[in-house]
Symmetry: C2
Subunit: 211 residues, 2 copies
């Protein structure tokens, strides 16, 4: 029974990997065929349905798993480094490594975010929101640890994620920049936002707005 | 002759408007048909070619004209208001008004940026770069006028444009937020970046990095 479950998981994985392998900058998820994905995974087309009801369900599982994995790595990177510069730098490095190692996944996210089915767009939105929430949590803890104040941490986190995601997609899309330059630029953008949030908190302490 | 030129410009405009009118959140530029666009504009399909070599050329003209118009309005908005809060607020208001009044255009930009032809993507990238350059110019002048320093104005401008564009696309895409909330959020995000750039410039004055 355990063996069969393992086998089932392996086939599921093979199907997801086969789909991901067929995506490119030019070929989106909606251009995949179930038959081709199954063949690539070495599975009969009819067996596909034992794993997913349709290709979209496979795509949603893919978005979910990739988001979970990326968030796990980001959490790790942020925990490994205690200092401000360290956290920002480590987060950006980790994100860019993931981006480069999973270019097809980001082609998928970039396309489906713009032209995907409502379910696809919601799934991507949900992953990004998770991402923002976790970053906000880590920022809050960091502020407590370092005894600093930041204004509106959820907006800080949202700005940071918007910047990192979009600069990242831009980077794999046009490939004109090199890794060092894009890393450097992202780090500076994030530090600017962090410093701005601290400056804003100081202003609010001096003249608190209406509550 | 002048009358004929006017007539030609009117037909060109009608073709662009017809194409724009047929785009929606669900229907992208690549799903348009030249025949349908011509019919909608009240023009024979063969006359289409007197104005554009193909549909893509019409799309590129559309992106170019819309970018020019949006930048004109943003420049105006930024010039009307002298104070910091005023400029940011006026820019965001102007952008959101343009966004709401031209939702189809932003559906087009959102889709084509992700899945468009290389020429389309380059055209959109170029408009965004113009946008960043003009904002950087205005920020520089404002800093001079107010006697403040900001670190790396081109990165400040790029961060601001990335935020405003992506939050804007998100806004017309999911429509869960209301205009006031999204305006408020964008204003805060931009102010944070501006304050951060000032704080960074102060730090650099204290301990200048390697030149």
């Amino acid at each position: 029974m355990a063996v069969r479950a393992q086998q089932k998981e392996r086939t599921r994985r093979a199907l997801i990997d086969a789909a991901l392998g067929q995506i490119s900058a030019e070929r989106g998820f909606s251009n995949l065929s179930l038959r081709e994905v199954a063949r690539e995974a070495g599975v009969a087309p009819t067996s596909f349905y034992r794993h997913f009801p349709d290709l979209e369900a496979l795509g949603l599982a893919l978005v979910d798993e990739a988001g979970t994995e990326l968030r796990r790595r980001m959490r790790e990177a942020r925990q490994r480094f205690g200092t401000e510069g360290g956290v920002v730098r480590a987060s950006v490095d980790t994100f860019i490594q993931f981006l480069i190692g999973n270019a097809n996944l980001f082609y998928l996210l970039s396309r489906e975010r713009a032209v995907g089915s409502p379910a696809f767009r919601r799934a991507i939105r949900r992953e990004i929101d998770h991402f923002i929430d976790e970053l906000a949590c880590d920022l809050e803890r960091e502020c407590r640890d370092r005894g600093i104040l930041m204004s509106d941490i959820s907006i800080v986190a949202e700005s940071m994620v918007t910047i990192v995601f979009n600069e990242g997609l831009e980077f794999i899309d046009n490939k004109e920049e090199n890794v060092q330059d894009v890393t450097q630029k992202m780090v500076q953008q994030l530090r600017m936002i962090a410093l701005g949030a601290e400056a804003m908190a100081r202003r609010e302490q001096i003249s608190p707005g209406p509550e």
